[in-house]
């Protein structure tokens, strides 16, 4: 279609369309078939997996280099090491300084990001197709051959220490960090990736070099390329860029971890805060649970969409908040189930009461209705194709397969698997994996204002914590 302008005559003479029927909503027609992207796979001799997806609509290519080591691989006492290492990757390589590295990326117009979670670290670069080869060479320099210089380390560590100082002022971040600690204690998931001041202060550049050597290696890495490319070319470019990357001996991955018993109710005082930041939840299930699809449906209905029970109750009915949601954070080991909401201070106790009642209700006392189930399933399945529109979206989706060892037909199976979930499944999996008696509640808010209401909740005396106890 080319640009053209068709100015209809305004007003007189223009024919009006017949009035349409507003007595009922139009029914969607049959769904347009959608085929999920085919993934082509090759493994290089050093163990690096190279996966590509052809998605040539726009002359853009998105690369993700995923390493299956994240903050949970931080050695005890070195919380924050994985994230610090990831942060050091783009600080130069070989003779190239940190600034020169970024000048090189900027000359490609590249969009560059690093990301870190409990189970992974990743480097993402999106460029115009004509820069694909140069971008891949830079990614290899960043991931496999970072300079890890002492002076850069000192600067980057100092910036992260400053960042930790600033985070103390952010109630949502304080809540997230302390809540993880309450749920997981010393378990590998018990700290957020940025780590702690004490641990960061104790680290040296040698820690980073050692961690890079054992954790960031080709046999735990996957290079994903999506866009205007063909697989053979990607493999050839990857072999040139990453061929010298030697695999190190395997690191020891901590998989066990004792979970503490947290108090039911905890408060971090934030005097005069206009809102209370709430977290309610407990440790739940790993990503590989056979109940995954039923839990996704259950969460959608409970707190995973605008029309969820929690949001309709706390926002649309009560007006307590700008928004409330729940999530199962799926990871390789059991991740948390968490409800998160920021409510006006005066509504704190009632919001907790309503939240716990909603969580308890969906397990059986107030089972999902046929209408809720149909809506939840429809919301998850009918719009599924839109997660595969851009090269970056597809690369992110494929990264999940690599991270969690999901099968190639995972995307094709998602819609049928979700569609099979029944109301009984929802009650069953929520009963199995969520227990109101085990919920831990954390409030970051004005203690003087909220204390009287909290006392009446029947959750016991609140434990008063400091914003930065760890």
């Amino acid at each position: 279609m080319s640009a053209r302008v068709d100015q209809s005559p305004s007003g007189a003479g223009a024919s009006r369309a017949p009035k349409i029927d507003r007595s009922r909503l139009p029914e969607p027609g049959p769904a347009t078939p959608f085929s999920f992207p085919a993934i082509q796979k090759t493994t290089l001799p050093n163990g690096l997996r190279v996966w590509s997806v052809c998605h040539p609509q726009v002359p853009v290519i998105a690369f993700d280099l995923l390493v299956r080591r994240g903050a949970s691989a931080d050695p005890p006492g070195k919380e924050g090491l994985a994230a610090l290492t990831a942060d050091m990757l783009d600080e130069g390589s070989g003779d190239r300084s940190a600034i020169e590295m970024h000048e090189a990326l900027a000359r490609l117009g590249a969009q560059f990001d690093t990301d870190i979670g409990s189970d992974f670290a990743s480097v993402s670069v999106t460029v115009l197709t004509r820069f694909a080869g140069r971008a891949l060479a830079l990614i290899a320099d960043v991931v496999a051959r970072p300079a890890l210089r002492d002076d850069d380390f000192a600067r980057v560590r100092q910036l992260r220490l400053h960042r930790l100082t600033q985070l103390r002022d952010m109630p949502a971040v304080v809540a997230d960090r302390v809540f993880l600690k309450l749920l997981y204690g010393a378990h590998p998931y018990g700290h957020s990736p940025i780590g702690t001041e004490t641990a960061l202060a104790s680290m040296t550049v040698d820690d980073v070099r050692a961690f890079h050597g054992v954790a960031i290696r080709p046999s735990v890495a996957t290079l994903i390329a999506v866009g205007d490319c063909d697989h053979a070319a990607v493999v050839r470019l990857a072999a040139e860029a990453f061929g010298d990357w030697r695999d190190a001996s395997a690191d020891a991955v901590t998989t066990d971890g004792h979970l503490p018993a947290a108090a039911a109710l905890n408060v971090i005082p934030r005097p005069k805060a206009p809102q209370s930041e709430l977290r309610i939840g407990h440790v739940a299930v790993p990503r590989d649970t056979p109940d995954y699809h039923a839990l996704v449906v259950a969460n959608t209905i409970l707190g995973g969409q605008f029309v969820s029970r929690i949001n309709l109750n706390l926002r649309e009915d009560k007006g307590f908040t700008y928004g409330a949601r729940t999530a199962f954070e799926f990871r390789r080991l059991p991740g948390p189930f968490v409800l998160q909401v920021s409510v006006q201070t005066t509504a704190t106790a009632r919001a907790i009461e309503e939240s716990i009642a909603e969580i308890a209700g969906i397990r059986g006392p107030r089972p999902v209705t046929a209408e809720e189930l149909a809506l939840g399933i429809a919301a998850l399945t009918r719009g599924y194709a839109r997660s595969f529109e851009t090269a970056e979206q597809i690369a992110r989706a494929v990264m999940q397969l690599a991270l969690f060892d999901l099968p190639d037909d995972y995307f094709a199976q998602f819609v049928p698997a979700v569609s099979r979930v029944t109301a009984e499944d929802v009650s069953r999996v929520m009963t199995r994996h969520v227990d109101p008696a085990r919920l831990t509640t954390l409030v970051v808010g004005d203690l003087d204002e909220v204390a009287p209401g909290l006392g009446a909740l029947g959750l016991g005396e609140p434990v008063i914590l400091s914003a930065d106890p760890f």
Partner: protein, 433 residues
Amino acid sequence: MRLSFAKHTLANGLDVLLHEDRTCPIVAVNLWYHVGSKNESPGHTGFAHLFEHLMFEGSEHHDRGYFKPLQGAGATLNGSTNADRTNYWEVIPSNALELALWMESDRMGYLLPALTQAKFSNQRDVVLNERRQNYENRPYGLAPMALLSALFPPDHPYHWTTIGEVADLHAVQLDEVQAFFRRYYHPANASLAIAGDVDAGEALSLARAYFEEIEPGDPVDAVEASAALTTDVRIFFEDRVEVPRLYLAWLTPAMFADGDADLDLGTDLLANGKTSRLYRRLVFDERIATDVSAAQNSREIAGYTQITATAAPGHDLGELERAILEEVARLADEGPTDDEIERGRVQAESQFVFRLQTVGGFGGKSDQLNAYNVFLGDPAYFERDLARYHDVTKSSLQQAIARYLTTPHVTLSIVPRGRVALAAPDSQRAVVS
């Protein structure tokens, strides 16, 4: 590189923009109303945004919430309000285009019969909580209030923030809501873009069927206002923060005006990313700041350029201010390097191509077509917009910096409570809420 489209104006004045992209079985419906907080007046602020919330609460023929039928059809949807415009969008499977048009047209044509005092009170509470969450209970969250009120005079429509003043939100009455709807939410003040997996002819027929019956309202006059800073304004306030942060702001040209693209690239090379001049000096070399950023905030009737930097512990905002102003002056005197201009161009080209990847949502192709149509009356502006960046030269960029960023400006310091000495020197206490 182009963003193709067809434009039709319906008999009631509604612009309809159509763009086909059959690669993914989804369609974006994107509807702009040319109204924002600039159409408010002192004492009545926050209204355009509060109204946006009410648009999701149901209309005459579907008075049961806006989200449910659309999410049930697999849609994702949202809306947003800024100073200049309000937009609403759905991204839906292509089989549900008609549903989205039904819903959007019903709230354009038939909102008021369904609008009750109860909904209004509930959404006012939600907005007050949005304000608490995103501004009042957030470190440095009140900076926009202080900056805008110092940059623009009290009767200028950019003097207040889009979220509005708390007292105004409490004072607003339902009858004002109704009057606001009648004045601004009608076809002649709106632009509808439909982009994605759809036949353009069919989409136009559907748009006509659903929207052409809605009566046009009176044309909305452009808001006109001017602002000038004749002397420097130096202000500070104390906040619940651990480290002080400095904000510098200058009045600059409006969106798409001469100098706008130069300042956009100029602020990039000053403070965006590790290669930028201010990052290198303040964060990398001297280590007196932990972060620095800059942006040319282009708006419809005026722009402002803002530079923001957070002090590293042990350093005060006066030190940051001196270093920043030195670098701005150096850019104004010497201009950028060839390499900086070349990087700026390739980055602009890349960003424009990246923007073509998605049909919907904030910033997708449907949103871009509406932006060009609403602000310029020219949805074909995509290529010329990119050309603006290609046309920036060393000398034009240098001139823009010299002309606009070496003039009187606002210096705002936000300091930890009890640490007033960390503010930039000679600052007056500002009252913000």
